[in-house]
Symmetry: C2
Subunit: 217 residues, 2 copies
């Protein structure tokens, strides 16, 4: 295994992030690399979900991961330990990634021939939703312990995501989580959002999510 790369991101100089994101998206498309931007609150299980997904995806396609965090490299280390190419991006205190920060990471990932790259964004339900990273698809995770009311409180996150993963469903018996309400509130924000209930821990629902992702590429 190569040594883990930790990239200290620089603040972007581009004024129009939307235009920059559209450029990045187009150039990745030409290179036949599909980019997924995975967002959620801290602790909803982004890395565990990624690990479960990579088990299904890595034997079938060439996949890479970019882990964004304010500090630490624990997530990228976990992904690398699973044998998947990954780098750790440090945002230097910044609460989100934009397209140019994403591009800085891509440059270091050395992704030629990679069919799928998953960007694990900073754990935050607010700011990451405001910045287009250039990804072809946005996914968010809501975990059962967080409660079903989150789409009421963080509207933009659900509006900007194509898919909602509801994680930790193995813990449903221990929490007052109303699955129907969670889905209804999410669809109130975004009627087109696809919902995948999973348990990254037990593996339940991972096949359906992995198959859906493979169908996009």
């Amino acid at each position: 295994m190569d040594e883990l790369k930790i990239i200290e991101l620089r603040e972007s100089v581009f004024e129009d992030n939307n235009a920059d994101a559209a450029l990045l998206r187009q150039s990745l498309k030409e290179e036949k690399t599909f980019l997924i931007n995975l967002m959620s609150a801290p602790g909803s299980g982004k890395t565990t979900t990624l690990l479960a997904l990579l088990k299904k995806l890595a034997p079938k396609i060439n996949v890479g991961v970019m882990e964004a965090d304010i500090d630490s490299a624990v997530d990228a280390e976990a992904i690398a330990a699973a044998g998947v190419r990954s780098i750790q991006l440090h945002t230097g205190g910044m609460c989100h990634l934009d397209a140019d920060m994403c591009r800085q990471g891509l440059r270091e990932l050395d992704y030629e021939g990679t069919e799928l790259i998953i960007l694990e964004n900073v754990g935050n339900l607010v700011c990451p939703a405001e910045f287009d990273t250039g990804a072809h698809m946005n996914m968010t995770i809501l975990s059962v312990p967080e409660g079903h009311d989150k789409p009421l409180k963080y509207p933009l996150m659900y509006q900007t995501c194509n898919a909602l993963i509801i994680n930790k469903i193995d813990t449903l018996p221990y929490f007052d989580f109303d699955m129907d309400k969670a889905i209804a509130y999410a669809k109130m924000r975004n009627p087109e959002i696809l919902v995948f209930p999973i348990s990254a821990k037990t593996g339940e629902g991972i096949d359906a999510l992995a198959d859906w992702i493979l169908g996009l590429i």
Copy 2:
């Protein structure tokens, strides 16, 4: 019960938030009102913890609550339903509160004679830690399902808080949460941080936390 007040906050015009926060803190001190800024990730149980705390505090002192959210009024409604004076602050998409936004809320709370005001900040481990609200004390909640590694990833939140509440300890059997590691990582960020393990749901640990808060006022 009065009708619930929902305040749409305006962006602050003050350039030096730290100076403004110091002014607010001093003027509240002169008015004998103690302000607590409660921060955490979405879904870690800020409102449930507040409800459990208010049951202990409200019979003893004059207390008020300001609930900050990007959207919805579910939290302020829950607090008002418990018979405690509360208002809902809407940040208009903004990811944090600063001192002037806090002051805008205070003006509407009509807090003369209130000994304790608790501000429930926007659910976010990143941005709220960067802005002094003028509070006399900062508290953060880490809930067991989020995992013990959060102080590694969100250093500033733990550096700026006087107290760490570890919530949902009733769910410890269902998660791989290492209490010793959580406390060690938090103290790595802030050796002075006080730790209160609680379950807002069962009430465990709430007495100790309430007693400590009463001792500060």
